[in-house]
Assembly symmetry: C2
């Protein structure tokens, strides 16, 4: 059985056709590829780097099984198969730690390795970094708009497959969410898991009151879903049950005018002296709706589809580009897709209050003022970057938010200066095939 | 090691809390849940059902490992753990075969099983059906707009994780695409795999001509990527190489004004007598751009991100709802989310030319004119629906397109009549908790 999450065949065919040529040509010089985002989506003032952990695990464990080699053998010459049967990733990786806030054209990861190795890892590496960064960046907007609310990932059912469900839980927690409804994500990443009842539980009972009684007796201190039939009426049933001695911690509203229902329910509960019962809301939420609901008497939100699909913009304009081969800087000059050549570093400058002031994109060997954002994380195929827990990464992300200029924390577009250093601009000017025309 | 693609823990926590209650209450009567889409996305005139095959495999193999049980044991009472340790899915499934075209409120799958079983499978079942149907439906638009072109899935790098990459390749092929660039999808589903070279191959060489020479000699009859520096100049290099005896089958253009470049390149090639070399285009394509390019001299298209993320609308407004429990029809009445109760069937009527004329949504036991779309596929946990190859499903999908009314084949919105039968309307009227107010 092939595990698609770790299989080196989860890649584009052209990686293998190119590999075959590189081996035949003896082109095994050192290549440096960088992963970056060309242009931020319209509604993102910054991005949150994520996915490095999965990339390092993938690189450390990249091996070809007999089954995989057998399939390739029917399509490629034996020279390539021999090379792959002994394949180990032996390159270097430099990267921004997960949770770093970054901007257009800033590489968040560089692979420096013999050309065939650095090329072969392209597709899966992009697949992981694109998705986790996409979701962490989307999640950060809800976290910044509703910093005092409980935010829970509810998205598994409409995530794009199994891994998307898991990684969306990880990426949103990394970006400051409180937890997820996805059980396996809780187990795998040690994330708090939330969840109580669906409408089907209420509907499977002859009436709602009976369903509430049953649920509250088998789960004391839990959350009741109160919108299957009539929200306010259901809230009065909750009051009745509490008076009878049932322990209920929270109610959830999943449809209708959430602010209006929450206000009505809050009033019903408060008048009965049940001000300790919290109100949780869900149903087609995103950061824009959160902004409208943040002043309603709602204590927490379940955010699903819009979060795990990055609904308003489900992709990043990202690239993994060859920036240097065999000591020579490279530059793609395709129309609208030209890149900055060479191995790069990003320096971030802060003002006196510790607030982010501006970034400079420059060459790796350059030394500028400010904090260097790209760090060595793997050398010769071995990770040298200490593994942090997801809780530690989350904490660091939240600290990073605190250094954002205020306009960038809002949902409305706000600019941030990223300068190109003179050295980099000069290198770009003289790099790339010279047009003969 | 837990495989997230088959783990019963890849689900929402509330499935387990409800299960615990159902077992304590002895609520193990027969439940019927249906999966349907409440409302089609704005730019979809129909949807293409997909994901059934993965759902059946999941249900047939659903087991709890020791590792999974151990994690649950720390959180749930032993009664639930005992139940899960012997768990087998023993229910019935009725469904539309993959490749069926369907509309709002029409169930594409029904699970009929003891309530705890039918409930527990909810999240993963939705996760699979939502995603594959989403992508097959998106892909169908490109297939209908460019029926004579070679269409290849190029999306792995921006698919949402590993499984999304694989299933997008499967779903787009099922919907009529010609193949994919994703190697593992080719191996797993026996889909044609396409791919040749990236810009990095050109950039790793001192100049483009050398790169072309090298690639063409190790891969006779392959495709050269001609937009790294200057498209037309690169096309002239292709002419030179062909005159020198190199065998080149195709060129790919990945940036700039694709129609203009393709025309220029076609002219350059034709003037050199190379009318057999085909032109392939890629780069941020979707069905709308395809419509503009369909008359350009382009023989095939690589479609990536917009396809595998369903970029214009990355989600379906789908639901898996309890429609009957213990012989009693159920109906959710939440605002804006009310559902049609009972076990249902869809009858499709065709006109004299075999063109789709209209559907009727009715109760399962009803017998109306037309073709019944929902068929038995699993009984008591065993599949009874013969496994079709993906090629057979694809062929059937293409036949189904041929029965679409012409306006529905276009990209512009067009309506299709779905009637609710009198019997179903009557059942809906008398179903659901009666409001005491």
């Amino acid at each position: 059985m092939i595990d698609p999450l770790s299989s080196p065949l989860l890649t584009d065919l052209y990686e293998y056709t190119m590999l075959q040529s590189y081996l035949e040509l003896g082109m095994e010089g050192t290549a440096a590829f960088e992963f970056f985002v060309r242009k931020l989506p319209e509604n993102r003032n910054f991005l949150v780097s994520a996915g490095l952990e999965e990339v390092l695990v993938f690189l450390e464990n990249m091996r070809f099984s007999e089954e995989e080699l057998a399939w390739l053998r029917t399509r490629f010459p034996s020279r390539l198969i021999d090379y792959l049967s002994n394949f180990r990733f032996e390159g270097d990786v430099d990267a921004m730690p997960e949770g770093t806030l970054f901007f257009r054209n800033e590489p968040i990861l560089r692979v420096t390795a013999p050309l065939p190795q650095a090329q072969l890892v392209e597709s899966r590496l992009m697949n992981l970094l694109n998705f986790e960064t996409l979701i962490a960046s989307k999640a950060s907007r809800s976290v910044l708009i509703a910093p005092d609310k409980l935010l829970v990932d509810f998205g598994l059912r409409r995530a794009h497959g199994a891994e998307a469900g898991l990684l969306a839980a990880r990426a949103s927690y990394l970006a400051g969410f409180s937890g997820t409804a996805t059980v396996l994500a809780g187990m795998k990443y040690d994330i708090p898991v939330f969840g109580t009842m669906a409408h089907s539980f209420v509907q499977a009972h002859a009436n709602e009151l009976l369903a509430f009684e049953h649920f509250a007796s088998s789960h004391p201190g839990s959350t009741l879903l109160i919108d299957t039939y009539d929200v306010e009426e259901a809230a009065r049933k909750v009051v009745c049950l509490c008076k009878k001695g049932f322990s209920i911690r929270s109610v959830r509203i999943d449809s209708g005018d959430l602010a209006k229902h929450a206000s009505n329910v809050r009033k019903i509960l408060d008048e009965a002296g049940l001000d300790g019962i919290t109100i949780f809301a869900s149903g087609n939420l995103d950061e824009t709706r959160l902004e409208d609901l943040v002043d309603a008497p709602i204590d927490g939100f379940g955010i699903g589809t819009a979060l795990v699909t990055s609904g308003d913009y489900p992709m990043l304009d990202c690239a993994y580009k060859l920036q240097e081969y065999d000591g020579r800087a490279c530059r793609k000059r395709s129309e609208g897709k030209a890149t900055w050549p060479g191995r790069k570093q990003v320096f971030r400058q802060f003002d006196a209050n510790g607030e982010m002031h501006g970034d400079v994109l420059t060459l790796e060997e350059d030394r500028l003022e400010g904090e260097a954002l790209i760090h060595p994380v793997m050398r010769q195929g071995k990770r040298i970057f200490e593994r942090r827990t997801l809780h530690e990464i989350r904490q660091k992300t939240i600290e990073n938010y605190q250094r954002l200029p205020e306009p960038l924390r809002r949902l409305e577009p706000a600019p941030y200066p990223v300068e190109i250093s003179l050295k980099l601009a000069e290198l770009a000017e003289r790099t790339g095939e010279i047009k003969s025309a």
